[in-house]
């Protein structure tokens, strides 16, 4: 599971991380010493964070120096492909992970994933691109759409929520093509796929080339822009048994979120340096990081995101639990509430 990055960063990467932490301090994001000092040390000094390729999860990758400031000495980044995430949570191989909200909810509901949502990470990031023939989401009825290489992945689940919101049946009204992203892009350019949904940098790249029409940008289009696209999940036992560690880790991650929000260029550069994104994608990654409104965690209520998507998933039959049950069982907002109070944020 762990790749060569998981064991630890290179010296260059580490110095880069420290540099970023320094930036954070300059930006005034260093935690108040009194506050951190008053808080007990984390129950564990080891923290295992999942990483994977979405560029929008940049704060997670850049949080390492901030996590060290929170008292974690052994920080491991563990590669976690979406299809293995449920097992990773069940086996307790990972402590915290960024996750697509709908995908995480599906994993919990359908696969019994042992995780709890603890905070929102950011809004937006998904984009639905249609061919020139498609003018709105409703036009997708009977059309061919690419939503990822396998069924029930994050984009596919998110797409189902989008089409069901406009009254289409995502299982009957849409034809899906299950191919890899590069092949999907090629098919789209050939006109064999009518639309596709993807996270950065795919859509940005196509749009930059003038291919396709932007049907939905979850960064700005309502109601999607009013809910978190990606959230922070904690392994259930980790959250339960290590509340101080969980809170400290979340504090570091939220600071990293602010860091990315204030200096996306530096964040993009760091992602490139750590080889999480490719050189050719740097421009689009930077664009994505600039467009994604990372500061929404201060304002938005993550519980309402879960509630909203739970309602949409109930509509499509993807969820049996009702929103209240799901929120009661699979969320834990005490850390984000305490941190908001700590940061002097009054909203929610």
């Amino acid at each position: 599971m762990e790749n060569n990055k998981a064991g630890g960063w290179s010296r260059r990467e580490f110095i880069g991380g420290l540099a970023l932490a320094g930036t954070a301090a300059i930006l005034g994001l260093r935690p108040e010493p009194g506050m951190a000092a008053a808080e007990p040390l984390p129950e564990t000094r080891t923290l295992r964070l999942r990483y994977w390729d979405p560029a929008c999860w940049a704060p997670f990758y850049l949080a390492e120096p901030l996590l060290r400031e929170e008292g974690f000495t052994d920080i491991r980044y563990i590669a976690g492909p979406p299809q293995e995430l449920v097992d990773m949570f069940k086996k307790g191989l990972v402590d915290l992970s960024p996750d697509f909200s709908v995908h995480g909810m599906y994993n919990i509901e359908a696969e019994g994933s042992s995780q709890k949502f603890i905070a929102g990470l950011h809004v937006g990031c998904y984009a639905l691109i249609g061919s020139e023939r498609i003018r709105s989401v409703r036009d997708l009825k009977g059309k061919t759409v690419w939503t990822g290489p396998v069924e029930n992945n994050g984009p596919h689940l998110f797409f189902q929520a989008i089409v069901s919101y406009v009254g289409l049946d995502p299982r009957k009204d849409i034809k899906y093509v299950w191919v890899k992203r590069d092949e999907a892009m090629s098919l789209f350019q050939q006109g064999k796929i009518d639309a596709f949904i993807s996270f950065p940098p795919g859509p940005q790249e196509l749009m930059a080339k003038g291919i396709g029409r932007l049907l939905l940008d979850t960064n700005v289009d309502k109601p999607w822009s009013q809910y978190f696209c990606c959230m922070v999940s904690g392994q259930s036992d980790f959250v339960k048994n290590n509340p101080i560690a969980a809170k400290r880790a979340l504090r570091a991650i939220l600071k990293a979120v602010d860091l990315v929000s204030r200096d996306p260029a530096k964040a993009a550069h760091e992602l490139l340096a750590r080889k999480i994104v490719k050189q050719k994608d740097e421009k689009y990654v930077l664009q994505s990081l600039k467009e994604i409104p990372y500061d929404r965690w201060r304002e938005y209520n993550p519980e309402d995101t879960i509630r909203f998507f739970a309602l949409r998933m109930r509509e499509t039959g993807m969820m049996k639990s009702n929103p209240q049950q799901f929120i009661e069982r699979h969320t834990d907002w005490r850390f984000i509430r305490e941190l908001k109070k700590e940061f002097g944020i009054t909203a929610w």
């Binding site: 309502k222 309402d304 509630r307 739970a310 309602l311 009702n322 049950q325």
Partner: protein, 522 residues
């Protein structure tokens, strides 16, 4: 449970009446409880339905709020972009109307108060900002107005919209939860109703079984015991666990059994004494009677020899009376011996046909006396019979003499056949006459000792009334039976049926049927 429950009910120290009333009330109580449960379930369904309906109204109201929010933001934006006084006035009016509506919004629950409060605050701020922008616009400070719009109004509008969306989401989530709760409650109610129905039926059946068994069990035991008592078995007592009227009845039955047993023993002893007495008396009577008959015959012969014929009729009357008396005494002696169990069977092998011929010869004078005709039909395969020949002879003689007595100028038919049934061979002899016949009433007391069809018949035809009683006793002693059918004024038919092979004195059955079907001697 199958056994102990009825016993438990039986042992309960209550009367049968109380038990039955108790069972009835228990079943009624079950029905009432079942009815209450159903009413409760229906009330629950109704309550949940009302709650769902209210939640639907709430979702509708919140959606309207959401819609109004979007509409007013759009209206304000449009008005500020094209600042006509009429448009601005309209947007401001909408804003104030919205505030008025917000104050009167219903369905806000306790946990939504905080969120609702935030909406009101955000809206107040929005109104304030819009008022400021309007004033700037009216003062033709468009740049400032536009900056304020972009930096303050747009974020406030977004927040307001998001918060109203959250209100709608909460209401919809509440409704989903209520739908789930309703579904779960429906499932639970269904199982509760089914459970109660099955439980009530089961309990009613169990109760019915327990009560009926506790009542019917003793009744059946007592019925069986009464049958045994009727057949003369006084050796047992009936044991029932009941502590109610049936228990008392069983005690009384046992007491009656004891009393009857004592009485029966006394009667048996008295009967034995009577039989002994009759036997002795008969013997004592026969001795002088034989002397009377003997002497009357001698005197008759002597009177004939001396030619003193005047005495002969009187002497003959003395002899006839003596013989009649002797016959009567013999019958009484036979009957008393039978009742005293002193009659023994002496079976031997004899030819049935020869016996019938012999008897027909014997009864010939009786046949002729009333000018009757005797017809005898014997089957060819009658063969030999192993039985007490004396008794068989007496049975046939009694039947034929009876037929002769009650028939005048008629025909008396004797049919003898051998039939094989129930793995044994039987001799069946029917004596049919064309005499006076009998009514149903007369036939009922036909085989009772000292009884004849009626008193007139006894006077007219004479006889002791013991013949048929003795005949039936002999038949039954030899393992057979006798039946009669008669039609008043048309005649009577007696059918006697005896086994061809009587039980051997050692207890074996002597088969008189060879494997080829021919008869053989025992």
């Amino acid at each position: 449970m199958k056994v102990w429950l009825p016993k438990l009910v039986a042992r309960a120290p209550f009367t049968v009446h109380t038990k039955l009333i108790g069972a009835f009330f228990a079943i009624v109580a079950l029905l009432i409880i079942f009815g209450l449960v159903v009413i409760q379930v229906l009330s629950g369904i109704n309550r949940r339905s009302e709650e769902l309906s209210q939640l639907r109204r709430k979702v509708g109201a919140f959606r309207q709020l959401q819609h109004d929010t979007t509409a007013q933001i759009y209206g304000v934006t449009s008005a500020l972009l094209s600042p006509e006084e009429r448009m601005i006035e309209s947007a401001l009016r909408q804003l104030h109307e919205f505030r008025y509506d917000l104050e009167r919004l219903q369905f806000v629950t306790r946990d939504e108060v905080e969120l609702f409060g935030r909406i009101k605050i955000e809206h107040e701020q929005l109104i304030q900002m819009i008022t400021n922008v309007v004033e700037l616009t009216r003062a033709q400070e468009y740049k400032k107005a536009n900056d304020l719009r972009l930096t303050k109004i747009v974020p406030l509008a977004d927040t307001l919209e998001r918060l109203t969306n959250e209100m709608v989401n909460r209401a919809e989530a509440d409704m989903e939860a209520k739908v789930d709760e309703s579904n779960r409650a429906h499932m639970t109610s269904r199982w509760v109703v089914i459970g109660f129905a099955v439980g009530s039926i089961g309990l009613a059946i169990l109760l019915g079984y327990a009560v009926s068994s506790s009542l019917m069990g003793p009744v059946m035991l007592m019925d069986e015991r009464l049958r045994q008592i009727a057949s003369g078995d006084f050796s047992k007592h009936v044991e029932v666990p009941n502590r109610d009227e049936l228990g008392t009845l069983a005690d009384n039955l046992n007491r009656m059994n004891n009393e009857l047993r004592d009485l029966y023993q006394q009667i048996e002893a008295a009967s034995r004494h009577k039989s002994d007495f009759l036997s002795n008396m008969s013997h004592e009577l026969r001795t002088p009677l034989n002397a009377i008959i003997g002497y009357s015959e001698m005197l008759t012969e002597e009177a004939e020899d001396r030619d003193q014929k005047d005495f002969i009729p009187d002497l003959q009357k003395i002899r006839a009376s003596g013989r009649h008396l002797l016959e009567l005494i013999n019958d009484i002696l036979d009957l008393s011996k039978i009742e005293a169990g002193k009659v023994e069977l002496f079976p031997e092998t004899f030819d049935v046909k020869l016996l019938i011929e012999e008897i027909s010869g014997t009864v010939q004078p009786l046949i002729e006396k009333n000018s009757n005709i005797l017809a005898i039909n014997c089957a060819d395969n009658l063969g030999d019979m192993y039985a007490d020949i004396t008794k068989v002879r007496q049975i046939l003689f009694n039947l034929l003499s009876n037929a002769c007595k009650f028939t005048e100028l008629g025909t008396i038919t004797l049919d003898a056949v051998r039939d094989c049934s129930e793995d044994a061979a039987w001799l069946s002899v029917s004596v049919t006459d064309t005499g006076i016949g009998m009514t149903e009433e007369q036939m009922e007391k036909l085989f009772q000792p000292f009884s004849q069809a009626d008193i007139q018949i006894a006077r007219k035809y004479g006889g002791t009334g013991l013949g048929l009683a003795i005949t039936r006793q002999f038949c039954e002693m030899m393992g057979g039976d006798i039946k009669v059918r008669s039609e008043f004024g048309r005649g009577t038919a007696f059918t006697m049926r005896l086994p061809m092979a009587a039980p051997h004195p050692e207890g074996d059955i002597v088969s008189l049927i060879a494997s080829d079907g021919s008869s053989k001697s025992a």
